[in-house]
């Protein structure tokens, strides 16, 4: 009991941001591109929130604001032919993977021009050509899929990796354990990325999990693990590089616990701070906004200045505005589309 009581949840700061981090192997363009990607996700999500309030987006809509460095840093360490699955909080991953803001926004609007032709929506952004295989709505349900994709990679003797993003609440779900056990048992090239944003809806980690250090779950499966500061895109990238190397070269799976924080409510129907967390807590975490952290670092390294940041921001804002106009003007799916894509033959049964 004492061991557990002593084991406080780590703050992102405690997770490894202390030492100065050399960026020498990264060229300046790459470093600026990460800032641009994070800004794009931020502005996209803000616009999605606005569109939701106007009734242009329906259903559930889970914003990624605050967690941008996780998607951008991890995806930067991957290859174009790797396989990706994510939860319903996946707009950021889709954009960082290279899905156009137009295709993503149009999907949120339910339009035929959306990446899933309006049949998936916010929770099911999918682009098979990008290896972006969802966008899944059942907590934990997609984790075994990634194990299966990693199995297929090994079966075909390829050197891709399969990567899965899920929240910290998913680790209490049986699918997580079953999936990780098989990946470790069979030595599969899979990377399980737990985005620990501290809450599953309104339930804090400590109210749902018997241990607070999620990465320790990997010990049960003799799997490599790391705890990563999710507010620093460079730290995320470097941890992911190590995990990718283990997976690609040695077929060793990894559990990465990336500590981050969601700045918005659980979904658009949930206020930013409700009964489960205080305004002060959110404000405290906002001080380590991943965009701010990275901007400061780039400025300190002389890679960009304030004007450069403003111009990047203006650039992504116009990209997002264009996506919004595109999605708004795009056509709904034809009524007949109701009946297509149920079976390969096209018809229903």
């Amino acid at each position: 009991m004492t061991a557990k009581a002593d084991r406080k949840r780590g703050s992102p700061a405690a997770a490894g941001a202390a030492a100065p981090n050399p960026t020498s192997d990264l060229n300046a363009d790459t470093q600026r591109s990460w800032l641009r990607q994070m800004l794009l996700i931020r502005r996209f999500e803000e616009k999605a929130g606005e569109a939701y309030s106007l009734g242009k987006i329906g259903g559930f809509c889970h914003l990624y604001i605050g967690q941008e460095a996780v998607a951008v840093g991890t995806l930067a360490a991957m290859r174009g032919d790797d396989y990706i699955t994510a939860s319903y909080r996946e707009h950021g991953h889709a954009l960082a993977r290279g899905m156009s803001a137009r295709a993503a926004m149009a999907e949120l609007f339910g339009k035929a021009a959306g990446c899933s032709h309006g049949k998936g929506g916010s929770m099911h952004l999918i682009d098979a050509s990008l290896g972006f295989l969802g966008g899944h709505g059942i907590v934990g349900g997609h984790i075994p899929l990634t194990t299966g994709m990693a199995f297929a990679i090994k079966y075909r003797e390829e050197d891709r990796v399969a990567v899965c993003y899920f929240g910290e609440a998913a680790v209490n779900n049986g699918a997580f354990h079953e999936a990780l056990n098989m990946a470790a048992l069979w030595k599969l090239p899979a990377i399980y990325i737990c985005e620990n944003n501290r809450y599953g809806m309104g339930t804090a980690l400590e109210r749902a999990s018997a241990i607070y250090d999620i990465s320790e779950r990997a010990l049960s499966y003799d799997m490599d693990r790391e705890v990563v500061d999710g507010q620093d895109v460079l730290v995320v990238y470097q941890a992911m590089q190590r995990a990718v190397k283990r997976a690609r070269e040695n077929k060793h799976p990894t559990l990465l616990e990336i500590r981050t924080y969601r700045f918005m409510g659980h979904s658009m129907s949930d206020p930013i701070h409700g009964h489960y967390r205080t305004r002060e807590e959110v404000e405290e975490h906002r001080k380590r906004d991943p965009i701010l952290v990275w901007s400061e670092k780039l400025k300190a390294d002389g890679i960009i200045d304030e004007r450069g940041i403003k111009s990047l921001d203006a650039d992504v804002i116009s990209e997002v505005e264009d996506a919004y106009r595109f999605a708004d003007a795009a056509a709904d799916p034809e009524p007949g589309e109701l009946w297509t894509d149920v079976y390969a033959s096209g018809g229903t049964a």
């Binding site: 990446c115 966008g135 199995f151 079976y343």
Partner: protein
Amino acid sequence: MAVITYRDALNQAIREEMRLDPSVFLMGEEVGVYQGAYKVSRGLLDEFGPMRVVDTPITELGFAGVGVGAAMVGLRPIVEFMTWNFALLAIDQVVNTAAKMRYMSGGQISVPAVFRGPGGSALQLAAQHSQAFESWYAHIPGLKVVMPATPADAKGLLKSAIRDEDPVVFIEGEMLYNTKGEVPEGEYLTPIGVADVKRAGTDVTLICHSKTVSVALKAAEQLAADGIDAEVVDLRTIRPLDHETVLASVSKTHRAVVVEEGWSFAGVGAQVVDVIQREIFDELDSPVLRVTGADVPMPYNKHLEKASKADPPKVIAAVKRVMYLES
């Protein structure tokens, strides 16, 4: 033509498809070293090795998901459930992922997986091991549900299921594995979605599937002694349901009894009755009746178990009622 068991017919189907297509693999509990809980996979590990005949931990949700994930990126898994009772732990993957990926992705992703294993009751296995779940899966758009009754259909339908681009729930009869019949060697495909008239008749149609095909055939034999000529339609595929064959038969006989092993509420028979009354109401000379398993969990005691099952006397009684020979 060789006479082989239902079990060996399934084995042949898997073996032939694995030889033809390197992307086909088999996974499940005890499928490899142990040679299959019901010996369907006998000899496959030796021929294909452990990468293609994969022994899994007892982790139904997990390995069903592994199968679906592998199928999403182009493999053709045959996921064996030791029995469909245990597949309840995996139903999220079958229903929420396998059945829906094509639709949710706007047609981008196929899940060409087969989920197979024995369903229904055996003998005195009690409530948790004796259940027929076909109506659950048949309820789901995106799934196909196939249930062969004979060795030949077992082979032909399993080969078709493995080649199908959609997820197929393939429910074998636990009590049918030892039954024997003629099975064509080599390339032999039975189309999914086509019922089969297992006995031609003129007076009444018995609609059945899987294990209840033999129940209906036995009932038909005894009815013949009473001068009643029953036609037996084996659905073979529950979804897509072959309306044409069912309606043609009932249009001819004007009377029907639907026989199934499962519970009555929202069962397969309910769907069949709906189709008949909707499409050919005017052809009917009497209401369609159903014979189902008793609406209770399966008891262990063998007399109670027997009383719970759809059997020839119950079918005969129902036939006499639709013929107004008994009330």
